[in-house]
Symmetry: C2
Subunit: 307 residues, 2 copies
């Protein structure tokens, strides 16, 4: 069983969807990633920062899931990162209502000495400069580094995005981000260009349309389950990344074949995530539910052609 | 080998895409469907109408592909249906520039006596009243009736659409049409409602995102090949339908399992269609190319989960 280090935000979110709205609830990329990965990886670590307004129980809950929180800084007298957003009726687009960086504004990702030698590294969405700092501060290169980023950073510091993704093995972005990063509308062409920027693997998330994995000339298309209802899409992408990296850390196999399975694991986790607000649904899953959901993906695309 | 009757437009199109534009070229739903199906079904019939401006060579070409054109009316002194459209840069949306119904305006779908007893019926996009007339004029119900329709008819005669789809086995529409027909955004919910309207099978085409097949509680997700370039999407949906029905007629097996394969056949044909303007690419395929393309779909989604 290999170890997985996740770096990313631990935050408060307030979410409004056509189905209702929440007060401030716990969110953040690293939260979703760690919870999702905890169903696969048993040796996890986290580097993040919160203010003293953040609930202790949530930190203890992460700990009880096997996540080492020595790298989670709690800043006295400061406030936790807060994001608020409202989803449109189609649930595919959203408006950001509030972004309060708070503790994230001057986040210095300190790596505890005990974290050195970690096997897998997941860099959740953060400034590309901070993501690079983490890589530089690890004395030994992890076996696999995956990175998520967003349009936001491409808009304001594209060069830094390039400098950072050059250093990673797996880039995980959505279709719009792939188009912006490559300047190509066709995802196949976009993938070709992006794979020349450094990463060996590119995962393009297409939301309700599934995900694509590219590496060299190889391509894999993972479906998304056609769901009756998407209740709240917040965190689905991070939950996907968590399932993906958790599965890789558990199996310790980074072949293309196993990455396909890891993508199915991530997709299964994301399909749970959207069923309720925030992290609620992914907090209380069991192994049978997850395994059964993964088998649904097998059934969904299974067909035979006489060879 | 079973017989396949296709009813639909045979037309002229003028197409503009970001890659260039065409003069008047041969198009029409029945043209794409028949050409596409001809790689699978060897006993085809067509019911349609053109003016005397329509090139005789195209009719002879259809004949040479094994399509009985006795039901293709040529109206002296009248003009062929003409459509002109311009695709936007994303190739997913288009503006109709010109629609001249011409001979289609008073189309009376006469069924030659020799067509009676046909095994499979494909109703390409036409007024739902005309589609129903065809079903009523067949003395014996075909083994399987598939129907394509469009938003246009839902906008102006939704009741007629309902009255007609009630009579068919397979409804083939795109995601927007499924949403309009059902009033549901979620495709899973839309499918549930539509399957209660009459059809036993529902195929929802999602363009570059693949297609979904629903029947009862069963669902199948067919991927689309991630293509480097979509040169011209015109006719891709009809080419899909042609490959689908051609495959069913060839194999004469309407089980859910075989419908999956038929969808892959249709998807493979559609992936060729978009590579060049109009019918150009699908006119000159060979069996090996088609088979290899179908195997690409197998590779694209193949993965294993330990059961």
């Amino acid at each position: 069983m290999s170890s997985l280090l996740t770096v990313g935000s631990v935050a408060f979110d307030a979410i409004e969807t056509p189905f209702g709205k929440t007060d401030k609830i716990v969110g953040g990329a690293a939260t979703y990633i760690s919870i999702s990965a905890s169903y696969f990886a048993k040796d996890q670590k986290i580097v993040s920062v919160v203010g003293d307004d953040f609930p202790k129980e949530t930190l203890l809950d992460l700990k009880s899931r096997g996540v080492d929180i020595d790298g989670l800084q709690v800043k006295d007298g400061e406030k936790t990162f807060f994001w608020s957003g409202k989803y449109h009726n189609d649930m595919n687009s959203r408006d950001t209502l509030v972004t309060e960086l708070n503790v994230l504004e001057n986040f210095d990702p300190v790596i505890p000495a005990s974290y050195q030698g970690v096997d897998y590294l997941m860099l959740g969405n953060l400034a590309p400069t901070v993501q690079r700092q983490v890589i530089e501060r690890l004395e030994e290169r992890p076996k696999l580094i995956a990175l998520d980023t967003m349009n936001f950073w491409m808009d304001i510091m594209m060069e830094e995005v390039h400098n950072t993704i050059k250093l990673v093995d797996v880039l995980i972005i959505n279709d719009e981000e792939a188009r912006q990063l490559s300047g190509e509308y066709s995802l196949r062409k976009a993938a070709k260009k992006i794979l020349k920027m450094g990463p060996t693997y590119l995962i393009i998330k297409k939301g309700e349309h599934g995900a694509l994995l590219f590496s060299g000339e190889k391509v894999f298309f993972a479906p998304a389950l056609p769901l009756e209802e998407v209740f709240d899409p917040t965190g689905a992408g991070d939950t996907f990344a968590g399932g993906f990296m958790g599965y890789l850390a558990k199996t310790d196999d980074i072949s293309f074949e196993n990455m396909k399975r890891a993508i199915i694991a991530g997709s299964a986790m994301a399909s749970f995530c959207v069923e309720l607000f925030g992290t609620e649904r992914i907090e209380s899953l069991n192994q049978t539910e997850i395994y059964d959901r993964m088998l649904e993906f097998v059934d969904l695309v299974e067909f035979t052609i006489d060879k």
